[in-house]
Amino acid sequence: MSALADRLDEIRGEGRAALIGYLPVGYPDVDTSIKAMVAMVEAGVDIVEVGPPYSDPVLDGPVIQLAAAHALEGGVRLTDGFRAVRAIADAGAVPVVMSYFNPMLQYGLERFAADLVGAGGAGVITPDLTPDVGEEWIAAARARDLDTIFLVAPSTTRERMHLTAAASRGFVYATPLMGVTGERAAVGDAAERVVSEARAAGAPRVCVGVGVSTGEQAAQIARFADGVIVGTAFVRCLTEAATPDEGIEALRRKVSELAEGVRSAR
């Protein structure tokens, strides 16, 4: 049983794609970040990616890097992520964690899986862990019935598409543009190609993270993906606001725009 798969199938039944929103825990502070995540759910995000900050985020662009660094300076701890997960589950969305590997490893993979399940989390996206070296994590997650979400890229070979599709549960996370996180002017055709390759390799559900920041772009991706993943555009609502409250208001507006986007595609 996978809460993510169930939710994505239900959304597909509504004839639309899911909107998946990422925020780092602890930006600008832990309480505000949790409030912002709940606000995203209220404004129309279906699945929330809870991001515990990491000191060396090699796959993140400047916006998320700076937010994560600020959160770490503020003293955010990995366990604050579980509080966020609980709040999201209570608000009625599906929470997943997106974490670099070392914080999970130091916490203890089995303990991490147990505490995430305890908080109501559905699974973990691991941007710097591929299935080849993910055996221990996959075993710990399976033992707790947690989803394991791995990434595919345009450079992923057919063989590795199969490997990744087989090791993933919940969905496969497609990153159709080479590079770090951040908004893009064009989200383009590359996305459709990577999604169809992942499907051909046996992935039943494929969500796309490609730097979407407008409703129109969300609609474009929603035509062929099961979910549209948005991070930087949401984080920027918080980083550019004069006060936390204004940030959360800007975030609600951005989420509404994109939620409309994923509903207008088909």
Binding site: T130, T157, M178
Partner: protein
């Protein structure tokens, strides 16, 4: 038959090493691994690398006995392997020529690299000029300030130097930024990694390119009269040390001692002694010892030497430490600077501050073992780049009052 520890192929060294990277980089690392596996046994590649080592780098590097310095090392016989005499002034060129040749072989036109002290950046910029490759060097902003002269050297050689302003603004952040560049431009770009750390194939490949240090030194010591009692080298990421150690790994009587930067002291928070003061974890693509907090966040490191100022260490060193085959000693800023001053004054050889950590290790070991001991120290680099910093340390600059 006992199995050899030499030239361990990776990806894992015991529990350490591996490849913990974003999927987007996997294809490039596979391509590199494959190209390297073929190149290392292809005479066309190995002959060309050997030719460059001879005609460009100036290999073999000599060994030099330093008796006046050795008086401060318990009267032991101290012999230096002179990697400081290589073209560009350090061991880094050995690795860079190999990886630049490999870049040409896989048909890429652009190389990127990280640098701490600037030695690897200078070597990479040099190889790029030699082989007509576009070159971008990432360097922490704090290091660009500490090593302004090397920034100018890289620019004069035609490289673009990008100061990295995120995080601790040192080597570790330069590596993060180089990875970000690589994941964006991997189609045209090869990452010339500077040390024997990072994801497979880098730890094994960089070690192989640096292995020449120990191979030459071992033969030179035998010719001189016998194997040394110990080989000492400084360890940041650990490429000069693993290069010096590898050929001696199966000589059980030879102690191998890596000298880590202890900054203000390992008992403080300001040091870079990863094996002495760290715990196993994953950083920059491989599993090894890391300076980190309870949550797995990397702790900032500190060393007077930019080249050793790194909170990780190559996975083969982590393995050798766990096996007990190599020892890792902390050497503080003050101890390293004492050795820097001594070698300069007694022998007229100014070491890189990095290498001075190994020299201090030799002083300590020599005092323990006495005059019968023979110690081989890898003098991994020369001190020209450190003149300003050393002058400041010893308060020799005009108009500077303590």
């Amino acid at each position: 038959m006992t199995s050899s520890l030499q030239s361990a192929p990776g990806p894992f060294f015991g529990d350490f090493g591996g490849r913990y990277v974003p999927e987007a980089l996997t294809a490039a690392l596979d391509e590199l691994t494959d190209a390297y596996e073929k190149a290392r046994i292809d005479p066309q590649f190995t002959d060309e690398l050997a030719r460059l080592a001879r005609d460009y780098t100036g290999r073999p590097s000599i060994i030099t006995e330093v008796p006046r310095f050795a008086r401060h090392a318990g009267g032991a016989t101290v012999v230096l392997k002179r990697e400081d005499l290589n073209h560009t002034g350090s061991h880094k060129i050995n690795n860079v020529l190999g990886q630049a040749l490999l870049t040409k072989r896989i048909g890429k036109s652009r190389i990127i690299a990280e640098t701490g002290a600037g030695q690897h950046g200078v070597a990479t910029a040099t190889a790029a000029a030699l082989m007509d490759l576009e070159c971008v060097i990432y360097m922490g902003e704090e290091d660009t300030e500490r090593q302004a002269l090397n920034v100018a050297r890289m620019r004069l050689l035609g490289a673009e130097v990008v100061p990295v302003t995120t995080g601790t603004r040192t080597l570790r952040d330069a590596i993060n930024e180089a990875f970000r560049d690589w994941v964006t431009n991997v189609e045209t770009t090869n990452y010339v990694f500077g040390t024997a750390a990072g994801p497979h194939p880098f730890p094994a490949m960089v070690r192989d390119f640096q292995r020449v240090i120990g191979v030459e030194a071992r033969a030179q010591m035998l010719e001189r009269g016998g194997l040394p009692d110990a080989v000492l080298a400084c360890v940041g990421g650990g490429s000069n040390a693993i290069g010096a150690f590898d050929a001696f790994l199966d000589d059980e009587a030879v102690r191998l001692i890596g000298c880590e930067a202890a900054g203000d002291g390992v008992e403080t928070t300001r040091h870079a002694s990863t094996i002495t003061g760290g715990r196993p974890g994953v950083l920059h693509g491989s599993k090894s010892y890391i300076l980190q907090d309870d949550d797995g966040q990397t702790n900032p490191s500190h060393s007077i030497s930019a080249g050793l100022d790194y909170p990780g260490v190559g996975p083969q060193h982590a393995w050798l430490a766990d096996l007990g085959r190599a020892e890792y000693w902390p050497v503080t800023d003050a101890q390293a600077m004492e050795a820097f001053r001594l070698l300069s004054r007694t022998e007229g050889i100014m070491p890189a501050i990095e290498s001075a950590h190994a020299l201090y290790g030799a002083m300590k070991l020599g005092q323990e073992l006495g005059p019968d001991a023979t110690l081989l120290v890898n003098l991994s680099g020369r001190g020209d780049k450190d003149v300003e910093q050393a002058a400041r340390w010893f308060e020799m600059l005009p108009g500077e009052d303590a």
